[in-house]
């Protein structure tokens, strides 16, 4: 029985706290930036970008030391944003193989992907690594990749060669040679072992690999054996895969509380970019986006925007979120925010030469949102008649362009139409033999010519919303010759006469 061929790709992003913070702050990327950790006043620099390193900033510098450098942007470490960035990269790696192991440490991101058997799907390892690197770069993270048939060798190699971004591929059997020149720091040695090796004059993995095994175990125990196997590229590893879940979620903590909607939209725009990139690589679109704003005082404010069709159009999303937040503004300054999106299938529209002219769904969404901002939330849409005999009973539903077949309706083009009066106008009525004889409506006295009725209607008697009315159809004339055809009701519960509609 032959052992299956193993092949691992190790993805490594150094200075991860800084990279995670700069991912959602593209405007700071071109400047020296330092991420501080720790409780004030004992903050220290835990991570920084290349420009800051050129200035001379080192890890562990205090706030006072950092302040001596001019033009350095200081941000505070955010575990939430790091977790969001890690989840995004793991989910990106999960697109290439279902077996991904997380090997992160405090200051860097590292994950190993089992890519054995993916040649037919993604091509040779070099092509896969290049493609993975491009996707990670789209997320705003600079990383490097090492491919090896040994798990630990891939990790050591990518840590040792992290200063040289790109892809390093080690052929089967050449692990030991590839590791020879690497420093011992890639092994995460304890202080005691590091001092011992330093005293022995061992500085590279090549030197360590040359040591006799039995003599080393006699002096350092089983740990010595482990280090020797690592240095020789022979260490076996039991793969412990994690299951990266596909959740389109981005979180960000703001440096200062934000009150203005416009400045918030800049941040939302960057987060939307990330969500759209992540959805696009899976050939999906964003179906709905929920914006959760965490406010001063511990409250939160959540709004969900759902256009008619899933889309990846950034401008459209920004406009819809803008209009929605403008209509429902948060009541306090915003401390942090989270964007959660639901993925949906990319919409396909089949256009036809003879199909009727219809509103473009995306543009219609923005138009409807604008109209809602003008007239109110529940005043735009399509009317749906309720299944009741109660007059003027309907509900409003969201309008969308109906694409199905036309519902078969009884077409009566010569049907009399009514204009409803909302609210119904109360009037004074003069009765003769219990029938309306004259009515006073809008400062005019009308004499009733014909009164048809009463049609007695009632309903909901089993409920508290019971209603009961007498309906009349009136034809009336005033003294100045104007005529009135109206629908009059007498509410038995409240004992009042109302004109509910005019025939027009």
């Amino acid at each position: 029985m032959t052992t299956p061929v193993e092949l691992y790709a190790c993805l490594y992003a150094k200075e991860f706290p800084c990279q995670a913070m700069l991912r959602l702050r593209p405007d700071v990327r071109s400047e020296p930036c330092v991420v501080m950790a720790g409780e004030p006043p004992f903050e220290y620099a835990c991570s920084f970008n290349a420009k800051a390193r050129v200035l001379g900033i080192t890890r562990g510098m205090t706030r006072v030391e950092i302040d001596t450098f001019s033009s350095v942007t200081v941000v505070f470490r955010s575990q939430i944003e790091e977790e969001a960035a890690k989840a995004a990269i793991l989910e990106c790696a999960g697109a290439f193989s279902p077996r991904v192991e997380n090997a992160c440490n405090d200051n860097s991101f590292c994950c190993v992907i089992d890519i054995a058997g993916t040649e037919k799907l993604f091509g040779p390892p070099a092509a896969l690594a290049k493609s993975l690197l491009e996707r990670v770069r789209d997320l705003g993270i600079a990383a490097s990749i090492a491919v090896s048939s040994n798990f630990q060798t891939a990790i050591c190699l990518v840590r040792g060669l992290s200063s040289r971004p790109g892809v390093t591929i080690i052929a089967l059997g050449e692990e030991r040679a590839a590791l020879t020149s690497l420093s011992l720091t890639v092994l995460d040695l304890s202080e005691e072992h590091a001092e011992t090796f330093s005293l022995w004059g061992i500085h590279t993995l090549g030197m360590l690999a040359e040591l006799p095994e039995k003599a080393l175990i006699a002096r350092m125990g089983q740990e010595g054996k482990r280090l020797l196997q690592l240095a020789r590229g022979e260490m076996r590893h039991l793969f412990q895969p994690v299951e990266p879940s596909f959740a389109l979620e981005e979180r960000m903590e703001l440096d200062t509380p934000v009150e203005l909607l416009d400045s918030l939209l800049f941040v939302i725009g960057v987060m939307l970019d990330q969500l759209i990139v992540r959805a696009t690589v899976r050939i999906l679109a964003l179906a709905s986006v929920s914006v959760s704003l965490f406010l001063e005082g511990g409250e939160s404010h959540t709004r969900t925007v759902r256009p008619a069709l899933p889309t990846n159009d950034r401008q459209l999303w920004i406009k819809l979120i803008h209009l929605d937040l403008e209509a429902h503004p948060p009541q306090a300054p915003i401390l942090s925010l989270a964007l959660t999106a639901e993925p949906g299938a990319i919409s396909k529209v089949q256009l036809g030469l003879f199909s009727p002219q219809l509103p473009e769904p995306m543009r219609l969404d923005v138009t409807l949102a604008r109209i809602r901002a003008i007239v109110g939330e529940d005043c735009v849409g399509r009317a749906v008649l309720n299944d009741t005999h109660k007059p003027d009973e309907f509900r409003m539903e969201a309008f969308s362009v109906a694409t199905g077949s036309i519902s078969e309706l009884a077409r009566r083009p010569h049907c009399a139409a009514m204009r409803a009066l909302r609210p119904a106008e109360r009037i004074t009525v003069k009765l003769r033999q219990k029938r309306p004889d004259a009515l006073f409506f809008r400062e005019k006295l009308y004499t009733v010519q014909q009164a048809y009725g009463p049609w007695v209607m009632s309903g909901d008697w089993w409920n508290q919303t019971l209603w009961s009315l007498h309906q009349w159809d009136l034809v009336a004339h005033s003294q100045d010759g104007s005529s009135l055809c109206c629908c009059l009701t007498y509410q038995t519960a409240s004992d009042c006469w109302q004109i509910v509609a005019l025939y027009d």
């Binding site: 009727p356 509103p359 473009e360 003008i374 735009v380 009566r412 010569h414 009399a416 204009r419 048809y452």
Partner: protein, 313 residues
């Protein structure tokens, strides 16, 4: 585009114009809504989409459905409805401060928030008040349908409940003013015309008094005309008084309807009469007098609008 009423289509030589403004002018109870709904029914049956911008929240969905309008394809924008629905919440408390105790709201005059024209030259102080006061006392025949303060006549039997009368007053404080509703409707129509894709847009100002509609700047109608032409939308205006002037491709005048008296117990319908007031597409009048009198076209039509419960005759 046919209206669905044969006699009207005949005098219009096919129907209402596409990509232009049609104005339907008439008093309430004159058949404007019936014709507009019949027109929309034709459009929705052709799988097209249309919109009803309702300045007074007057559309009766049951009538629309009975006429044949597919409500799924009709976008209904109800201006001022949000203010009307909020009003009862205040009245249920049983106590409401009078408006004079509140901080007075900033007065916005005209559509532009000050002045009555797009140019400072056309801003004439006090002119609008003068025009309003001139038009107010029953000068124009069609009356305003806005809720107005009713003067109780002592000679008729008053059946109004006094407690309900007091709530009536509180609701009137919070009801939207005609100007704000008209302003909303004009902005919404602008957006819909810009969005495109709607085969017909009905701007229903049929219950707004002429003193309000006539104050809409003519530039607005001119802009609508250009936008309608660009998006190939039929814009239908329902008004009591002609306001679009030369921007309207077609203007129809509706006479007050006459109710049928054929049934003693059931209201069966109304007879409406429509007259073509102006039509731009007709050949212009020339000074050349032909020897023979040319054939004259009928410019008015009468049709019967029957209620949905009346049987066929």
């Amino acid at each position: 585009m046919p209206t669905g009423i044969l006699l009207v289509d005949e005098i219009l030589e096919g129907g209402l114009p596409v990509g232009a403004i049609t104005e339907m002018v008439g008093a309430e109870c004159s058949g404007r809504t019936a014709l507009a709904l019949s027109f929309l029914a034709q459009i929705t049956q052709a799988s097209r989409v249309c919109a009803w911008v309702d300045v007074s929240n007057c559309l009766h969905p049951e009538s629309a459905a009975a006429t044949g309008v597919d409500l799924c394809r009709l976008l209904w924008v109800r201006c001022g409805a949000a203010a009307a629905t909020k009003a009862p919440q205040f009245s249920t408390n049983g106590f409401a401060l009078q408006e004079k105790y509140f901080v007075p709201r900033p007065v916005t005059k005209g559509l532009h928030g000050g002045g009555f024209g797009p140019h400072p030259r056309s801003e004439v102080k006090g002119l609008s008040e003068a025009v309003s006061s001139f038009l107010r006392p029953q000068v124009t025949a069609p009356r305003c349908s806005e809720p107005q303060r009713s003067v109780i006549n002592e000679s008729v039997v008053v059946t109004r409940n006094p407690t309900q009368q007091s709530t009536d007053k509180t609701t009137s404080i919070f009801s939207a003013k005609p100007w704000s509703r008209l302003d909303q409707a004009l902005r919404v129509t602008d957006l819909l015309l810009q969005a495109g894709g709607f085969s017909a847009i009905v701007l229903d100002m049929g219950s707004i008094a002429p003193e309000y509609t006539s104050r809409v700047p003519l530039a607005t109608w001119f802009r609508y005309r250009a936008a309608a032409e660009r998006s190939q939308t039929s814009l239908v205006l329902l008004t009591q008084h002609a306001c679009a002037k030369s921007s309207a491709e077609l203007a129809l005048r509706f006479e007050p309807g006459k109710a049928f008296g054929e049934e003693k117990s059931v209201f069966t319908g109304v007879e409406y009469c429509v007259d073509v007031m102006r039509e731009r597409s007709r050949p212009a009048f020339t000074n050349v007098i032909p020897l023979r009198k040319p054939p004259q076209r009928a410019s008015d039509a009468t049709w019967h609008s029957r209620t949905s419960w009346a049987g066929r005759r």
